[in-house]
Amino acid sequence: MLNAPVDWLLIAICVVGYLFIMFEQSVKIGKATSALLMGVIAWIIEFSRTKFSHEEKSEIFGEHLSNIAQIIIFIVGVLTIVEVINSHDGFRFIKNYLAEKSKRKVLWIAGAFAFFLSAVLGSLTMTIVLVALISKIAENVEDRWIIGSGILLAGNAGGAFSPVGDITSTMLWIGEQLTSSRMVLDLFVPSLVCAVIALLLLQWRLKGNFPSISYEEEKISPISFAIFCLGVGAILLVPIMKGLTGLPPFMGILLGLSVIWLVTDLLHRSEEKAHLTIPRIITKLDLRGAIFFLGILLAIDALQTAGILGRLAKTLLALAPSPTWISLSTALVSAVIDNIPLTAGMMGMFPLEQFPTNHFLWQLLAYSAGVGGSILLIGSATGVAFMSMEKVPLKWYLKNISIPALLAFVAGFLTYKFFICQC
């Protein structure tokens, strides 16, 4: 079917681009750069076909761009809010709850925070925050790694059931493949089962107590806690606003951000507190993530416009016995390749007419892409962050964590299959 040379050229560009992204370290070019160029070149190739008139081109392009922009603005908005909370020491109160002697208790408490906070503030940021807190508590490297892995597994599971918990879930929500209420209702229990099983399997590897260090209860300033609540409230309001007024998520998050901005501007009028205002905090954001995302989505959209993804979907559907298998296999694939292009590709492959909103294919995809990445350390952005923070060796993770992660994933999946949806 792929007879036009343009199609092959397009595929070649995307494959080469993806190889550059995967081997970022050895080619010495940042993955954001490769992704950006890949996206732009893919569209240059796509538009080099003569079949489009000038007006058609801008129409096709405008539609894709508007969808991409909504997700990017939303994610940058959430990241900014989290950074505001962090700058105000808004997460420090968690440390007081972690001041337990028993190692197992610390694991469970950290896991619970990871699970629930990830659902609101995103799994990536919460893992970073919690792992940083744990590293101050646990002296022993092995303990730190295991508790960190618990945070990682619980955080990825917590991100999977919430529309704002994970980039892939957000993509499916903004793309209208899933609605927020059904997502939470149907995926909460499987995700919870997954997290609990993972923590159960991990706790046997922890024994005894931490050497008694006198934990001094840290004083939490009311402002820090207020900013924490304000931030969490702003993010939680987004799905609620969407349901009530139809305000799209990116507008909701911008509105929330502007309220926080207003509050912090009024709170920190003096010069010595200027570092806590949003214009200063915003400079700490890593824009490369957003650029990477833009490039990936542009490239996937070019593939979709060319009809290549549609043909791939037909082949896959013909090969797989049921759509369940497709979703399940994404979990395993997402352990190896980045789950953002994977999800974007699936969204481009299967049209909403064939698989309507809240179809089990999408629900399973949200679960699999979110949780499946935990099976390997490099399978999720969260894992990569954990690896670089704590210098966790890939081999150690493969030997100690991968099997519990896989079992937990299967347990959550079986829960979904037998109790939520007979598929």
């Binding site: 240059i44 507008m251 949003i278």
Partner: protein, 419 residues
């Protein structure tokens, strides 16, 4: 009722932006908050299901985000050049001692650049350039004001130079020959007449120290590549049919790879790499711009601007007066919806293609926006990038811009009566 609330929110937001320094709230905050509230209200006016609301906003967002991405890309490229101290070469090339001469040179470069590129792009490029070249704040603000006037005037006389002129051209109200022939003289008169009074605010010479400064490693190469990336945007658009922001991103991507390859063996040049440089981009000004664009889009969506144009039509009965008023009105709100409304109101059968009325509209909507800093996209970007106070512009630049605006209009009328 809802419409009244929408207008009230917009005016309040507008005031909060103007009085930014008095109330101590960043104008980006006000713009964003205004946009969010406006769109909630807009959604209440729709009778469709909430799920379908998204559609209204989506149409607007596609256009808005292209401008924002373009702005981000252009800012990033300029920051890369700056990190390499590439602008040292520009300063030494220009090497103009007198500030007044500098003003004229910058004004004319902007004027002609804006004839090829759109106003906004030109303003972004030129303002980012002078930011790095002119060090005195007051001087920079004044020259920036001249850039806004020149960019708007330069856009008015070519079919591709300005969004509103392009609209009239694509809509068939004007042909490209007619636009250039009858609007070139008025546009250039508008610029010259504005610059003459403006130059008296500038005195003396550009201080020496701003002209020396040695370039960093590979600074000349990066300068050439960066400026090429900015200027070849129209060519990219022509060749590929992709929107301008894709051209900017393509240029940025190439520049990124080149700098990564140039510097990866030199750990001490870490700060020159794009990943590091993009941290210096002024995000709040981009957010401000996003907020303003979304807010104006909301007004447009409920038809407030169209109603305003209708009202004008009923109360004024001279073509020239209507055009002048549309120009003045475009100093307060965006000129795109105004021109769109005018195009909808006056039929091509009543005013045939290339009739004087359309030319006047093109001139007025293009240049009238310079009178207030908030009246044109070029001005808004200037305000965001340079933190220019609304009242500073009102005091120093507005009068000059108004002189230019009316002078150019007079030139147009004279020219019509002679030929």
């Amino acid at each position: 009722m809802l419409i009244a609330a929408i207008i009230a929110v917009f005016i309040l937001g507008y005031l909060a932006i103007i009085f930014e320094h008095k109330i101590g709230v960043n104008k980006a905050t006000s713009a964003l908050l205004t946009a969010g509230l406006l769109w909630i209200l807009v959604f209440q006016t729709k009778e469709t299901l909430p799920q379908q609301h998204l559609h209204f906003l989506q149409e607007e967002l596609g256009g808005v985000i292209q401008i924002v991405l373009f702005l981000l890309g252009a800012l990033a490229i300029v920051e890369v050049i700056n990190a390499h101290k590439g602008f040292a070469h520009v300063s030494s090339l220009l090497n103009i001692k007198s500030k007044r001469a500098f003003l004229w040179v910058v004004g004319f470069i902007t004027f002609f650049l804006s004839a090829v590129l759109d106003n906004l792009t030109t303003a972004i490029v030129m303002i980012s350039l002078i930011r790095k070249v002119v060090h005195d704040k007051e001087d920079r603000w004044l020259i920036g004001g001249a850039i806004v006037i020149a960019a708007n005037a330069g856009g008015a006389w070519t079919p591709i130079g300005d969004v509103t002129t392009t609209m009239l051209w694509i809509g068939g109200q004007l042909s490209s020959g007619a636009i250039i022939k009858s609007l070139f003289l008025p546009s250039i008169a508008c610029l010259v007449l504005a610059l003459i009074p403006m130059q008296f605010f500038l005195k003396g010479e550009v201080p020496e120290h701003s002209l020396d400064a040695k370039g960093g490693p590979h600074s000349l190469l990066i300068l050439i590549l960066g400026v090429l990336a900015l200027v070849s945007v129209p060519l990219f658009k022509y060749l590929t049919g992709l929107p301008p922001f894709m051209g900017i991103l393509f240029g940025l991507g190439l520049l990124w790879i080149i700098t990564d390859l140039l510097h990866h063996n030199h750990p001490e040049r870490h700060n020159l790499r794009v990943a590091e440089v993009i941290k210096h981009i002024d995000i709040p000004s981009v957010v401000f711009f996003l907020g303003i664009l979304l807010a104006v889009a909301a007004l447009q969506e409920v038809g407030v601007l169209k109603a305003m144009a209708n009202y004008l039509d009923r109360t004024l009965n001279s073509q020239a007066l209507i055009a002048i008023f549309i120009g003045l009105l475009s100093a307060v709100v965006d000129n795109v919806p105004l021109v769109a409304a005018a195009m909808g109101m006056y039929d091509v059968s009543a005013y045939p293609p290339d009739s004087s009325f359309w030319k006047m509209i093109a001139y007025a909507a293009g240049t009238g926006g310079s009178i207030l800093i908030i009246g044109s996209a070029a001005g808004v970007v200037f305000m965001g990038l340079e933190k220019v106070d609304f009242f500073y512009y009102l005091k120093r630049v507005s009068i000059c811009a108004a002189i230019g605006y009316f002078g150019g209009f007079a030139v147009y009328l004279l020219q019509q009566s002679f030929f």
